[in-house]
């Protein structure tokens, strides 16, 4: 990647000096979203902005077009674009910069395309409305871009409405929409985050091709270091609206100087190393799922003939992309969706298909932790009520005993005792997820189903949660069924893995075995799609895929 890095003599496209953005409400000034951030961007260069949620990266991206969301205001600094300070332009001049010279590519194409207009109308709009081309020329340009972006049937693609094409295609169409007026600067705001991993690879590749061939400068905003490694020449790390570190991509990824960056990199490296948790076959059988099938009201089976087993102390990861049926499997297991065929045996006895036919003790022994800690905890209850309820419900304990047990559980999940009177609204995302864990533990279960428990959390917080789960497993011997789409998590925590595709199990076994040749083709596709921090990863994957085709 170093060979096509811009020389310092190249023309400067964007210079941001001491940018400051604040929230202002009727009640007075709010938090500072961006504080004293500066950077420059030259022609043909890609700068990656990286950080956790609340780092201010999207705010900076939008501010580069002198746009802020409602309630936010740019209160300081300069935004110099091609020698003009955009903040000093009047609204018409700003308007004539947006879309024409600086274009934006948003996270969700499905939401950012107007459902009432065809793709052509929206792609050509910028060029036509700003008087750069007539509609026929713009259409020709659009078709050219559709072809470059490898969209199917490029000649007629634009005649369709946004809801008529797939998410990955729409995301690429948004890139075409941004490029049609040949802007000098592109702003990518988490453009692949909403996509499945296998789709992400292709979209990422077409974005990179587009930027390189047109020599456009770009700001690439993402939370994923491995993604930014494929596309950026330089990287800026942000935290709480402040710059942590800015440097060459290779330097940031291989020799980070700041502690925070080091942590981020270390976390990502740990996720992509190939050291597996060794499978231990000594535990006695706990759960046996035997040729289970189920469907919702339609006749199509959402889960079809799935067989897998979990031993005591196991961590079995169930992986797959959206729509693979992995969450549905959990719903069948707990009885929310009754199975139609097959059997589920837990500790030797067959579990009734329906939730309401199960005994209190059967319910107690399988607990669940959810993806979104915000909606998994009743906002009106205190932690005492939330964690204490399973204690009093399953074990008929008195008020004092419940309080004592809750205190003990709080200690186990590393939360201070004083939190017992707090409500979920007063906790951070990671703390809420710990409370969810405590609530599950309060039932003293033998199996805990973890449904995407880390995917709503920032990477460093997620790692702490994973470590906590591991520690609790060592202490209590509880088994986990770990539903996730993130293969990095799987490698780190699971000793067995089940790969699901369209409601069926395509592979199941000890993690080292499933994730090593000979692969099931889908496992290989999935595995190869997980971005790695090596800069040449994307090229490798693409080369490998071309061979396969």
């Amino acid at each position: 990647m170093n060979d096509n890095r811009p020389k310092q003599t190249d023309r400067q496209v964007l210079r941001v000096d001491n940018l400051r953005i604040e929230v202002k409400t009727d009640a007075g000034p709010g938090p500072v979203l961006v504080d004293d951030v500066s950077f420059t961007l030259c022609k043909g260069e890609v700068l990656g902005l990286i950080g956790e949620s609340g780092a201010g990266k999207s705010t900076i991206g939008l501010a580069s077009m002198v746009y802020t969301r409602s309630g936010c205001y740019i209160t300081g600094g300069k935004i110099v674009f091609l020698d003009n300070d955009l903040r000093e332009l009047n609204s018409d001049q700003r308007r004539n910069t947006r879309g024409v010279k600086i274009a934006y590519i948003a996270q969700s194409a499905a939401a950012s395309f107007n459902p009432a207009l065809t793709i052509y109308e929206q792609v050509c709009e910028v060029a036509v409305r700003h008087g750069l081309m007539n509609f026929a020329d713009a259409k020709r340009e659009a078709i050219k871009l559709f072809r470059e972006l490898e969209l199917p049937n490029p000649d007629t693609f634009g005649d369709r409405y946004p809801h008529q094409v797939s998410g990955g295609q729409l995301q690429r169409a948004m890139a075409a929409m941004a490029m049609v007026a040949k802007p000098d600067l592109l702003i990518f705001d988490e453009p692949t985050t909403a996509l499945d991993v296998t789709t992400q690879v292709e979209v990422l590749a077409s974005f990179r091709k587009l930027i390189r061939e047109h020599g456009t400068a770009a700001l690439y905003i993402t939370h994923d270091l491995a993604v930014v490694a494929q596309i950026a020449d330089r990287i800026m790390v942000l935290r709480h609206g402040k710059m942590v570190e800015l440097g060459d991509a290779t330097q940031i990824l291989q020799h980070p100087t700041q502690e925070y960056t080091q942590k981020l990199v270390a976390e990502r490296v740990a996720a992509s190393t190939h050291e597996f948790v060794e499978s231990d076959e000594s535990g006695e059988a706990l759960l046996k799922i035997d040729r289970v099938s189920a469907s919702y009201r339609t006749l199509v089976k959402v889960i079809n003939g799935v067989t897998l087993d979990i031993r005591r102390g196991d961590t079995v990861a169930v992986v797959g992309e959206s729509g693979s049926g992995k969450s549905t499997l959990a719903r069948i297991l707990v009885g929310l969706l009754p199975r139609e065929e097959g059997d589920i045996r837990f500790a030797g006895e067959s579990l009734p298909p329906r939730l309401k036919d199960r005994s209190k003790d059967q319910l107690r022994r399988i607990q669940m932790i959810y993806q979104m800690p915000d909606v998994a905890l009743n906002p009106q209850q205190t932690l005492l009520e939330i964690i204490g309820r399973p204690v009093s419900f399953y074990f008929n304990k008195s008020g004092d005993q419940v309080r004592q047990r809750v205190t003990e559980l709080l200690r186990q999940i590393d939360l201070p005792e004083s939190f017992i009177t707090r409500r979920p609204g007063e906790l951070s995302g990671g703390q809420k997820q710990r409370v969810s864990i405590a609530r599950a533990l309060a039932a003293e279960p033998e199996l805990i189903i973890c449904d995407e428990v880390t995917s709503a959390l920032d990477p460093l917080v997620a790692e702490e949660i994973l470590r906590l789960l591991k520690r609790l497993q060592d202490e209590l011997g509880v088994a986990y069924m770990f539903i996730t789409h993130d293969l990095g998590t799987v490698k780190r925590i699971a000793n067995k893995v089940a790969v699901m595709l369209k409601g069926q199990l395509v592979a199941f076994g000890p993690t080292p075995k499933v994730f090593a040749p000979p692969f099931h083709p889908y496992t290989e596709l999935l595995l190869s799609s997980v971005p790695e921090m090596r800069a040449d990863w994307l090229d490798e994957v693409l080369a490998k895929r071309r061979q396969l085709v």
Partner: protein
């Protein structure tokens, strides 16, 4: 889409049928029968039996319902109990008066409310928006008859611009009608505009908050084009819905206004007939009101279906 629309229309017709059954049964379900209720104190066995025969109460209920419904479909609403005249004769001119008044109000109110609603939404939080908010809160809080009387006080008593009562006859010419019905029209406009405007503003605001509007801003499009090309096509369905619902409200709200201005329409008639217990008239007027109300509701849904791009251009 055609399937959805025909389903909706069929459901509407079913609702209408059920409404007719309710209106018919409501009267049938009287404790004691209609005849004894009507005669009250002068009920002797003989004249009770005579009246029952006259009303056809000796035959099964379902047969009578069918007769009532099929006659009504042919324009025969039966005879009034109070003056023994055929209802259809009085219903025609009265229905015309009512629809004239409601239509008059709608022609003024709809464009006004939609325009004001869109302006308030675009200038959200501005002085105009705040002013509009206060005014609409006030007019929603105030009963129709209060607005009516205030208008009478101001425009008919203090300044003698308009008549206190809206006396129209079948011979009144069109311009004269517009003048005579100005105050009742204005009353209805004031009530309905507030509602319609609030709802229009809310639907436009909901659309203006979508990511594709932000995208249009980031494409550097001028504000008017964003509103006209990107927001309105998507806000159209909810706005049409709002309009149709408010028209339905208008046609029913006309009842109170007609009483205030002693306007010879269906509303005043139904109220009169309720106090006189002239049940055939109540049934007839009730059916017409229900039919218009239900039709407008169907129209609202059908328009919403038609203006939804996802339904218009299926995958």
């Amino acid at each position: 889409m055609f399937k959805l629309i025909s389903q909706r229309v069929a459901l509407g017709l079913l609702t209408l049928l059920l409404a007719s059954a309710l209106i018919f049964l409501g009267v049938e379900a009287l404790p004691g029968d209609l005849a004894s209720k009507l005669l009250a104190n002068n009920a002797t066995p003989e004249n009770l039996a005579a009246l029952r025969l006259e009303l056809g109460l000796d035959r099964p209920m379902l047969v009578r319902y069918w007769e009532w419904l099929s006659h009504m479909l042919q324009g025969d609403f039966g005879a009034s109990l109070s003056n023994k005249r055929a209802i259809i004769g009085d219903l025609g001119p009265r229905a015309l008066n009512t629809f004239f008044l409601a239509g008059y109000a709608a022609v003024i109110a709809v464009p006004l409310a939609v325009a004001l609603g869109i302006i308030a939404a675009i200038r959200q939080g501005g002085i105009f928006d705040r002013l509009v908010n206060v005014v609409t809160l006030f007019s929603i809080s105030v009963p129709e008859f209060f607005i009516g009387y205030v208008l009478v006080m101001l425009l008919a008593v203090k300044i003698r611009l308009f008549p206190v009562l809206s006396n129209v006859t079948p011979d009144t010419d069109f311009m004269q009608r517009l003048y005579l019905t100005f105050l009742p029209m204005a009353t209805m406009v004031m009530v309905v505009v507030a509602h319609m405007m609030r709802m229009t503003r809310a639907s436009v605001l909901a659309v203006m908050a979508s990511p594709y509007i932000e995208m249009a801003i980031l494409k550097g499009l001028p504000k008017w084009r964003i509103v006209v090309q990107h927001a309105l096509p998507n806000a159209l369905a909810p706005i049409l819905n709002v309009v149709a619902l408010n028209l339905a409200y208008l046609i029913v709200g006309v009842v109170v206004v007609e009483v205030v201005f002693v306007y010879p329409g269906m509303g005043q008639w139904i109220v009169d007939s309720v106090s006189k217990k002239d049940l055939p008239v109540v049934q007839a007027c009730g059916m017409i009101f229900a039919a218009v109300f239900i039709t407008l509701n169907i129209l609202a849904d059908v328009l919403a279906i038609i203006s939804n791009p996802r339904l218009r251009h299926p995958r």
